[in-house]
């Protein structure tokens, strides 16, 4: 996997550039086969979920969060140096918000609370792998 492209996608996600993140990781996803393919797709779908949520497309957000979480689950607690366990817990709470939006309960969206993809240090990565 092209690490530079992957890191760029992570950076775009963390800057709240969810469409750009999806674009970057999509290019990578098209070229990737094997174990990382579903991982990338899971990240793309979570990113798209946030894109939809910020556009108040609750149906799109709900579906994408659900699909993304289902894919990322198998990679938890971490994969490719990215912490997933805490990230996914946070996404689950955003999924709940999107589901409430579907039934008309439109909550304030505090974008500062959107989780970041945390890059684990080597030591932390080794701890996860034990």
């Amino acid at each position: 996997m092209n690490e530079e492209q992957f890191q760029r996608g992570i950076d775009e996600f963390n800057r709240g550039c969810f469409f750009e993140c999806h674009d970057t990781l999509e290019d990578l996803w098209h070229e990737t086969r094997g174990a990382d393919r579903l991982f990338l797709q899971g990240l793309i779908q979570v990113s798209v979920g946030f894109y939809h949520l910020l556009n108040r497309n609750y149906k799109g957000a709900t579906s994408q969060f659900t699909r993304g979480l289902n894919k990322l689950e198998q990679y938890s607690p971490a994969h490719r140096g990215i912490e997933l366990e805490g990230f996914m817990k946070s996404v689950v709470s955003w999924l709940a918000l999107a589901e409430r939006g579907l039934i008309g309960e439109q909550a304030e969206i505090d974008e500062t609370k959107i989780p970041k993809l945390k890059i684990l240090s080597l030591k932390e990565s080794n701890t996860w792998q034990q």
């Binding site: 999806h22 999509e26 098209h30 797709q41 779908q45 939809h52 994408q64 699909r67």
Partner: protein, 114 residues
């Protein structure tokens, strides 16, 4: 046609060039068939023209739009279930100058599951 694009579409356009029948159009774009132009079916998302979709029967073993869509928004339309025969006949009508071999697992998803 039994493939549709849902509102999860992010308008990235990955699907459009993959369609062998040019059945996919961008949101708001007019669509064309047999020299006639028609109003866009969707103003918000990419859309698939029902009259031009063959679920890739005759061309590939799976819907190419679905294969390249990272958000899985090209999905079977439960309200338009069409038979392999109907889809194959449509493919022949859409490509009158193309010679289609008998369907095989390489050119029809129906054959794969048979």
């Amino acid at each position: 046609m039994a493939t549709m694009i849902t509102e999860e579409c992010i308008n990235c356009g990955a699907c459009e060039p993959e369609c062998p029948n040019t059945a996919i159009y961008a949101n708001g774009a007019q669509w064309e068939m047999n020299g006639e132009t028609h109003d866009a079916i969707s103003a918000d998302f990419y859309y698939i023209v029902p009259e031009k979709c063959t679920e890739c029967v005759g061309h590939f073993d799976q819907e190419q739009c679905a294969a390249v869509c990272p958000v899985d928004c090209c999905v079977p339309d439960p309200n338009h279930v069409e038979s392999e025969e109907l889809l194959f006949n449509r493919a022949k009508q859409l490509h009158p100058s193309k010679e289609f071999a008998a369907l095989s697992p390489a050119t029809s998803r129906f054959q794969k599951s048979a």
